[in-house]
Symmetry: C2
Subunit: 445 residues, 2 copies
C-alpha cells in the first residue's frame, strides 16, 4: 500500500503522519516542491517583528525528523507535475537532479495549498514582496535586515495585511496601507469593528487609504523607489502585496478532478475528491461550512492540520467525517485582538437581529480592565446564534471560542445567556460581556 | 404590588432592580442589615493586595444610586428577623433607631446570602479575621494598614483561601497556610492540578501544612501573638479563617419554608420556595446542577446575579426558568490560573475516562508561550463530556469556558475535538490544547 502526498506543509505532513501512524507497513511518500516542510506560516508576520529570530524557527519538524522518527519518505524539491489517474501515477519533476520520474500510488492526497495573489502588473523590482511560503518569509526578513527599509507600502485590507502592518510598525518602518476598493478596512467585519481598527492604525501613525490602485513600481539601481498609484506616487523602499490567496488546484483540474464553484478542489465530507482514490485537504480544497451547509474556500493553518489528519486517515482506510468550519478567526493588531465566528452579515439569509454591546474585560474596579466590543447576530424569531465579532485588548480569543462552540450545536441567544461561565474579577465582570450581549439580543428576537 | 427583598448584595439588588425594571409602578423595598449594598465580594482578595485602593471601590452602585436612579426603597441597617407568612409580613429590626417594625409584602425575595464558617473555639482576639462581608474586608484592610503584620496564619485550602494567600504574598507578609484534613491542597481538584498549586506555593515561599487543627489563639495586649495547633505553635500577628460558607437559611427555616439537603433554602427551577409568594436567590438557596440534575449548594457572585435577576422577574409575574450551574469556577494564584467546570471525580457516577495532557498556550516558536495542563473527564462508551480542570499562566479562562459551553449542551469529546476554534500564534498552538485533550480522550472511550 503506497500513499503519495503532494505538498509537505500543514495539511500534507498531517496526512502523511496520520496514514503512517495508522498503518505502520504503509509506504508513505510526501513530495514537497520547496526545501521546507511542516512550518507554521501563520507565524510569519509575528516572526517578522522579532529581528533576531530566524524564520526557520517556524519549522515544527524537519524533513529528517519525518524520515527518522516517523519513517515517512519525505522528498524535498520534488514538484508534482501531473496526475495520471488511469495508471495511478504522479509525474514528478526533481528540481535537484533536473529530471522527471513517475511514482505510482494506491491512494493520493493532494495538499498543494494556496498561493498569494499577485498584482498582474508587477515586474521584478527588488523590494516588492509577497508573504506566503517560508521562502518568501526568509527573503523578506533578509531584505529588511540588509536594506533597512524606512518606508513601506502595503497593499491589502485583510487580516494578514494587518498582521504585517503590525510587524512593520514594531520594526519602526513607516508604513502606508492601501486597498483597491473604496471603503473601510476589514470590509467583511461590521463597521463598529472596522472603525476601532482604523482608529488604532491612526493612533500608531499608520496611514490607511482606500480606493487606491497600483499602476507600477519605480526603481533606482534595481531597488524599489516609488509606488505609482491612481492616487499619486508614494515614496517606498519596501512593498508587500497581501491581497489574498488562490487555491493551487491546477494539478487536480488538469487530471479531470472536479473543481468547486470556489475554484478550489471539490471534496465530500470525507475529503474524497471526485476520484475515490484521491483525497484533498488544506488550502487547495473547499471547506464545508456548518452554518451555510455548503462548501466555502476558507484557507487556514488550523483547518489544514485538521483536514490533513482526516484525509490521511481516510486514505489509509478510515471513514472519518470532516466536521467543517463555522467561520472562526482571530488576529492581533498591536494591542488589539480582533475576532469573528459564524456568518458575516453578507452571508446571512435569515431575518436577523444585530446586537452591539460595549463592556469591560475584567471585574468592577479590577486593575487593567479595558473595553471590549461585541457584535452578535442572531435569527429573528428563533434566536438562533448566527455569528459574532469582537474587538478588545484581552479575553477576546476566549469569548469568540465560546460562541464558536455554541454555533457548532445550534445554540440560541437564550442558551448563550444561560452559560455557567467562569467568573473571577481578573478575567471577567460578574456579568460576562457575552452574557450581556446575549441578554440584550433576547429582547429583540 | 409590593416586593420586599431581604438582603442587598448581589442577588438581592439584582432581584430588586429586575422587579422594578419590569413593573415601574411596583413598590420595591430592599432591606440590608449592613451599611453596604451591591458590592463585588469576589473582588476582596484582589483588592486587598492593592494597599492604596479602598475596599469601597468594590461597591458597584450605592444605596443612593438605587434610590435615585432606580426608585428602589433601599433601607440600610435593617435586619429582617422573622417572616410571618400568614400575614405576609416581615418583622424588621431597625439598627439605626433600635426598634422593630413590620413590613407587608405581596411577594418576598430572600437573598440573605451565606456567612463564613467560624472555628468554634475562636475567641475575640484582635488580628483574627474572616473575609465575607465588605465590612470584614474593610476591617482586615485597615488592620493590615495600621498594624503592618509580618506573619500570617491562614486556615483553609479552597479557592478563596488561595486568593487571600496570593494577596498576603503580594503585600510581603510571610504566610503559613494550613488545613485541617490531611492531604493535598484543593482536594476537590485532581492531583495533577493540586501538585502544580503546591509547587507554586513552595516557589513563593508560602508554607503549606495539612492535618493541622487549631487549638487556640495566644494574645499579647489583646493582639494575636501565636496560633496554637495540634502541630505546635506558630508565631503570627494575623490570622484569617477561610474554611467555607454556610447559607443564611434560618429566617426561612423558622418560617416553615422547606430547607434542602444541602441546608440551603429549597427552590424550584423558577426559584420559588415552598411558599408560592416567596422566592429565594443567591448564596442562601440551592442551585440546580445541570449535569447532576439535582440541587447543590454552589455559592458564587455570578450565580447570585443571574438568580437575582430571575427571582426578581418571577416575583413580579414572569416565568423564567433558572438554567442552572455546571460547576464552573476560576481563580488566580500568583501567575497561575486554576479553573474547573463540570463534575468533580467524586461526583461522577458514570464509568469514565480521565485524560491528562500538557501542552503550550501559544503557537510554535511564539514568544511568551507557557505550559497548560488539562484534565478531561468523559463518559466511557458514549464519550459524553463530564468535566475539565486546567492550570496554566494564561488562556485558561477562555478554554474552561469552551468546555462549560459544551457541558451545557451535552457535547461529546468528539464534538469538542471538532470545534472550529480561533487560531493565531499569539493565542494558541495550531492544535489547541483542548482539541489535543479531546483527541486523546477519543482513543480511550
Amino acid at each position: 500500500m503506497r500513499i503519495v502526498v503532494v505538498g509537505g506543509v500543514a495539511a500534507g505532513m498531517s496526512a502523511a503522519s496520520q496514514a503512517k501512524r495508522r498503518v505502520k507497513e504503509a509506504d508513505v511518500v510526501a513530495l514537497e516542491k520547496t526545501g521546507d516542510v511542516s512550518y507554521g506560516s501563520c507565524g510569519m508576520p509575528y516572526n517578522l517583528m522579532r529581528a533576531d529570530n530566524p524564520m526557520d524557527e517556524l519549522v515544527v519538524l524537519t524533513a529528517d525528523n519525518f524520515r527518522n522518527k516517523r519513517s515517512i519518505d519525505v522528498r524535498l524539491f520534488q514538484e508534482a507535475k501531473k496526475i495520471n489517474r488511469e495508471k495511478k501515477e504522479v509525474e514528478v519533476w526533481d528540481n535537484k537532479e533536473n529530471k522527471a520520474y513517475n511514482i505510482s500510488y494506491d491512494k493520493l492526497v493532494i495538499a498543494t495549498g494556496a498561493r498569494a495573489i499577485n498584482l498582474s502588473l508587477q515586474k521584478q523590482v527588488k523590494g516588492v514582496f509577497m508573504l506566503r511560503t517560508l521562502e518568501d518569509g526568509k527573503r523578506l526578513k533578509n531584505f529588511i535586515k540588509e536594506r533597512k527599509p524606512k518606508k513601506a507600502f502595503l497593499v491589502g485590507a485583510g487580516r494578514i495585511a494587518l498582521e504585517i502592518v503590525h510587524a512593520l510598525h514594531e520594526l519602526g518602518i513607516n508604513t502606508v496601507l492601501v486597498k483597491k476598493r473604496p471603503g473601510r478596512i476589514l470590509p467583511q467585519f461590521e463597521e463598529e469593528i472596522s472603525e476601532k481598527v482604523e482608529a488604532k492604525l491612526e493612533e500608531k501613525g499608520i496611514k490607511f487609504i482606500s480606493g487606491v490602485e497600483i499602476k507600477g513600481f519605480m526603481e533606482k539601481d534595481g531597488f524599489l523607489k516609488k509606488v505609482v498609484t491612481t492616487e499619486g506616487e508614494f515614496d517606498a523602499d519596501l512593498s508587500i502585496i497581501s491581497i489574498g490567496v488562490n487555491p493551487n488546484a491546477e494539478i487536480a483540474k488538469e487530471a479531470g478532478i472536479n473543481i468547486g464553484k470556489t475554484k478550489a478542489i471539490e471534496v465530500d465530507r470525507y475529503l474524497r475528491t471526485s476520484d475515490k482514490d484521491i483525497f484533498a485537504c488544506g488550502d487547495c480544497c473547499e471547506h464545508y461550512h456548518r452554518l451555510l451547509k455548503k462548501p466555502v474556500f476558507s484557507p487556514s493553518g488550523t483547518v489544514a492540520n485538521k483536514q490533513g489528519r482526516i484525509a490521511g486517515a481516510n486514505a489509509i482506510g478510515a471513514n472519518i467525517i470532516y466536521p467543517g468550519v463555522v467561520g472562526t478567526s482571530v488576529f492581533r493588531l498591536c494591542d488589539l485582538t480582533v475576532a469573528r465566528t459564524g456568518l458575516l452579515r453578507e452571508e446571512i439569509k435569515e431575518d436577523f437581529v444585530k446586537t452591539i454591546i460595549l463592556s469591560q474585560t475584567r471585574g468592577h474596579a479590577y486593575p487593567g480592565s479595558s473595553p471590549i466590543k461585541i457584535v452578535l447576530f442572531s435569527e429573528k424569531g428563533t434566536g438562533r446564534l448566527l455569528g459574532a465579532q469582537m474587538i478588545g485588548k484581552e479575553y477576546v480569543w476566549g469569548r469568540i471560542n465560546v460562541v464558536a462552540a455554541g454555533l457548532y450545536k445550534d445554540f440560541t441567544v437564550d442558551d448563550l445567556s444561560s452559560l455557567d461561565m467562569a467568573y473571577s474579577p481578573p478575567f471577567s465582570p460578574v456579568w460576562d460581556p457575552l452574557l450581556i450581549a446575549a441578554n440584550r439580543a433576547k429582547k429583540f428576537i
